[in-house]
Assembly symmetry: C2
Homo-oligomer: 280 residues x 2
């Protein structure tokens, strides 16, 4: 596996593989866990060249968020990415992605970026779509792989690709969980042992709502209350949001009549966790 920091070298390296090679791309912020590795393995199984990027993108962090403290470990990431089948690890500096004076942004407007994480992180998705658009332009992948864990990010990126007619297929991959149910996240390292224990409530409360829905309950208000009440039993849990929305458009719904997304964001101390479940 090659580790490349420079855009021109990256493009030349990809070109050297020859023509008509299928390029799979897994954009990440590094500190890889099994969730990322499942994306890399899938990309590697479906393409001739698998490019993984590690870029902690400054424009998607707001003031006071965890850009500085976001965990980083390139050596470990390189070993893991190679083991999962990556051919190229793209590891650019911020200045390589955003040239001096860069001021162009790609933004998906409307409800899809205003709800859920968009409400507490107002400029977050503008940073996400700008950097993902830019990375797609740099790598020119045929397929790009994203985890269902960041459900809203996935919906927003799919919409950007569709709206701007970008020539890439977005592949969604299921959430990978610890054996006890906690969704894998690079941010989980920020939890102390007691927070780690209480954080289990996210998947448990979501499962409780799914079970109730499976027995016939379709009232969103009732299902949301089940999730909130569950999370609130944990004294260290501080809810950012609990919501159930249309799966594709992320629009508000009152009853579940089509695939829906139940999503939560909860703070434990300085660590903000998200989780979700698809009701379909």
């Amino acid at each position: 596996m090659k580790i490349i920091k420079n855009i021109d070298i990256l493009r030349n390296t990809i070109n050297e593989y020859g023509e008509n090679k299928a390029i799979g791309f897994v954009p990440t912020m590094g500190f890889l866990h099994e969730g990322h590795l499942s994306l890399i393995e899938k990309a590697s199984s479906e393409n001739d060249i698998t490019v993984v990027s590690i870029f902690v993108n400054p424009t998607q962090f707001g003031p006071g968020e965890d850009f500085e403290t976001y965990p980083r470990d390139l050596d470990r990431d390189a070993r893991l990415a190679e083991g999962a089948g990556a051919d190229i690890l793209f590891f650019p500096d911020a200045r390589e992605i955003y040239p001096i004076g860069a001021s162009t942004f790609v933004e998906v407007e409307g409800a899809i970026t205003k709800k859920l994480c968009g409400s507490s992180r107002p400029a977050h998705f503008k940073g996400v779509t700008t950097v993902v658009n830019t990375l797609f332009n740099i790598v020119s992948p045929h397929k790009a792989y994203f985890g269902q864990k960041d459900a809203q990010q996935l919906a927003v990126i799919k919409k950007m690709v569709r709206d701007l007619h970008m020539q890439v297929t977005i592949v969604a991959c299921p959430i990978v969980r610890e054996t006890d149910g906690l969704a894998l996240s690079s941010r989980n390292v920020g939890l102390n042992p007691e927070e780690r224990k209480q954080a289990l409530i996210l998947s448990q409360a979501l499962n409780r709502a799914r079970n109730l829905w499976k027995t016939g309950e379709t009232d969103v208000k009732i299902l949301k209350a089940v999730i909130s009440d569950g999370i609130n039993t944990m004294p260290l849990a501080d809810i950012d949001y609990v919501d159930i929305l249309d799966f594709n458009t992320l629009e508000a719904i009152k009853k579940i009549e089509a695939p829906a997304l139940a999503a939560v964001a909860v703070r434990f101390g300085d660590t903000r966790l998200i989780d979700n479940i698809i009701l379909e």
Copy 2:
């Protein structure tokens, strides 16, 4: 030459030319004149496939602007484009470019889009960059050709391509003028005979400033006054702006010490004309 309205058919048609073909692209709003034809001829001479698009883009017109009355003549355009060397004329409906619910925008922020035309047409360049980005995604050109007549548009598009690392080369082509000096524009058909006569003052006033600059005058205030005073001698001329800026960044300057752009926008009745000259 093929006339194509559908994106999938366009892509398939381009692919049928075979691999490794150089694709040249000339995006236009139609009602072609010699200026457009010079772009198509240049594209045709430098590429294997020349794609011309005609799309009067609704998102770059503001309320009360001339979207409805913008001149259109597909038959004539098709004849002219083919004569100039176009292989494919892409003529999509608005719904083809902007799918239902589309809400993704590409915007170059900062002074470069706030000055000149950006000041009287606040959402104009956001519409331009969004549609040009989208058309680039659809056509995947190696080179795209733009006229120096829309100097600010050219600077904004170059910046978008650079900032987002788009893989396309922007080729700037010189302004084409009538023998008496009027810059060609699809909007010139809106001028009545008297307005047409007085509109000559744009190129004359710009030339007067250039001549003064060539004799050693570098004070922007003085050169701008020469242009404004010249235009104001015409009773039907209503100045929107007269400005002299850094050629590359469009930033304000007091003295001309590097290549500069002298640009004007002037209304004659309902018709708004622009013109410019490079001082280098």
